[in-house]
């Protein structure tokens, strides 16, 4: 069951990502990105991280992508025009992507013991909620990074307000 979910939504994520690249209209690309994020949420869920999955749906596909779509709608962006990109991109693009893929899979496969393993859907059968554990870790051992991130976000918000104000 979990394996089937993994295969289906992994394929959906890849198809969405490819569609994101091949679509020529920005709004279709944005919608493909939403599909990718939703299927990633399902993958998180099947790994037993239900809070992460819900946060992914609410924050990424619910809030950030809505803003993307909103901006595309407001700007009334047209279809992109096909141009012949730089020659370096043609020559180095596909081999580079292949090299990164090989490097990442090599690192993950060789350092498998250090990274630790989790069983697909291993946490789904037991009724333990990981929200309590996440919040406990977030407010004890990871409190400093958490607060620093909040201040970073606050600075970003203030910066946006300063930029958006007409008279200052």
């Amino acid at each position: 069951m979990q394996l089937a979910l993994f295969i289906i939504f992994g394929l959906v994520a890849i198809a969405g990502a490819l569609n994101l690249l091949f679509q020529r209209h920005p709004i279709n690309s944005a919608l493909s990105l939403i599909v990718v994020m939703m299927s990633l949420a399902v993958l998180y869920w099947s790994l037993g991280a239900e809070f992460l999955a819900a946060a992914q749906v609410i924050v990424y596909s619910g809030a950030i992508m809505v803003l993307f779509v909103f901006v595309i709608m407001l700007l009334n962006a047209g279809e992109e025009e096909r141009t012949h990109g730089s020659r370096i991109a043609y020559i180095a693009g596909i081999p580079g992507a292949g090299a990164i893929f090989c490097l990442l899979s090599f690192v993950f496969l060789s350092e498998r013991t250090q990274l630790g393993t989790t069983q697909l859907g291993g946490y789904l059968s037991s009724a333990v909620s990981n929200i309590t554990e996440i919040s406990h870790i977030l407010f004890t051992s990871l409190l400093l990074p958490f607060e620093v991130t909040s201040i970073l976000v606050l600075v970003a918000i203030l910066g946006a307000v300063v930029l958006a104000r007409k008279e200052l």
Partner: protein
């Protein structure tokens, strides 16, 4: 049923539950429309629909037949795939969130809860997530219609829903703090001890959160007095100007299904869900049998019905907000109050809990 495995029983019962909940929700949607037209009629000192069937009770059926038989117009310049996809997203998101709602007391049959489609430990977050996905239905419908009124309606609606989602989410934090869980079943159980006195809105002192939720929910469902996306005096019909026939009906059903979901969530989170308001006063009556199982559902339905009536009453009473008033109200009034509410609840729980 002994020859079936546990998984097969689970699958069968779940499919049956989904079918029943879907049929009941869609029927309720149809009759909420009738209720709205009747009550709104009485509020404006007229009869409302009264010709089809006794008291106009067959009016939803006639409306349904009419919408089915209408020609499905599609303007030439629309973006076809998105134009078709938008009402599907809207209706699907509206219907999915009903599946998290526990309708009655926990009643188990072969390990399957009969009165809830899915008991998920982050049920509340799922409902919020699905609501935020539902924004796309409206946003895409306006954009793909290739019509300035539709686009304005959907822009307004998107901005409004994104802004009020914050206040909505923050207003629920107090309840989550009190219950210590995001599962809707646990939240209902945390209010079940002393009847009405332990409901979050009274005993839990979450009335501030409740009013924030109520107002944010009106804005989330694009209902009056926040129905700017379809302000007919300015925008023809807003985001569904170009839609006709069943596609229009899907938007219409999505709006009313959202109303029902929001009413269900308000009932679950602030009014004790399917719990009785009398607590242990009458616990010696109906301890067995059918009435014992059905009574919680009746409580639940009556609470949801009260919220739907409130919706209609507000629509018949209040004028529409102006757009800057709407945004100012959401960001400058509801959001700070919701944060103060969270702080107060957390402090109270830290000192007493």
């Amino acid at each position: 049923m002994n020859h079936l495995s546990q998984f097969q029983i689970f699958l069968l019962l779940t499919v049956v539950k989904i079918a029943i909940v879907l049929v009941i929700t869609l029927t309720t949607v149809a009759y909420t429309v009738l209720l709205e037209r009747k009550v709104l009629g009485r509020l404006q000192n007229r009869w409302g629909p009264s010709r089809t069937g006794p008291f106009g009770l067959l009016q939803p059926l006639a409306d349904g037949i009419k919408l089915f038989l209408k020609e499905d117009m599609m303007p030439l310049a629309v973006d076809r795939p998105l134009f078709i996809l938008a009402p599907i997203i809207a209706l699907a998101c509206a219907l999915i969130s009903v599946s998290m709602v526990p309708f009655g007391a926990p009643t188990y049959f072969h390990g399957v809860d009969l009165f809830q489609v899915a008991n998920i430990n982050v049920g509340l977050l799922i409902i919020l997530g699905i609501t935020s996905i539902g924004v796309y239905g409206i946003a895409l419908s306006g954009w793909s219609s290739n019509n300035k009124y539709s686009l304005f309606g959907s822009l307004r609606s998107t901005a409004q829903m994104v802004s009020y989602e914050l206040a909505l989410g923050l207003s629920l934090v107090g309840v989550v703090l009190r219950a210590g869980s995001l599962s809707l079943r646990d939240i209902v159980n945390s209010q079940a001890h002393h009847g009405m006195l332990s409901w979050n809105v009274f005993g839990g002192c979450q009335f501030v959160g409740f009013f924030i939720y109520l107002m944010a929910a009106y804005a989330e469902t694009n209902r009056s007095p926040f129905d700017l996306p379809e302000a007919e005096s300015e925008l023809v019909a807003g985001y569904h100007t170009e839609y006709s026939s069943m596609k229009f009906a899907m938007f219409f059903m999505a709006e009313y299904a959202n109303m029902i979901t929001v009413a269900c969530v308000a009932t679950l989170l602030f009014f004790g869900g399917a719990g009785t308001p009398f607590g242990h006063l009458f616990q010696n009556f109906f301890t067995h049998g059918l009435i014992h199982a059905v009574l919680p559902i009746l409580w639940f339905i009556s609470k949801v019905f009260a919220f739907l009536l409130l919706y209609i009453w507000v629509r018949g009473t209040l004028p529409r907000f102006r757009y800057d008033q709407l945004m100012g109200f959401g960001w400058k009034f509801l959001l700070p109050i919701a944060m103060v509410n969270i702080l107060a609840t957390a402090l109270a729980l830290a000192f007493h809990g």
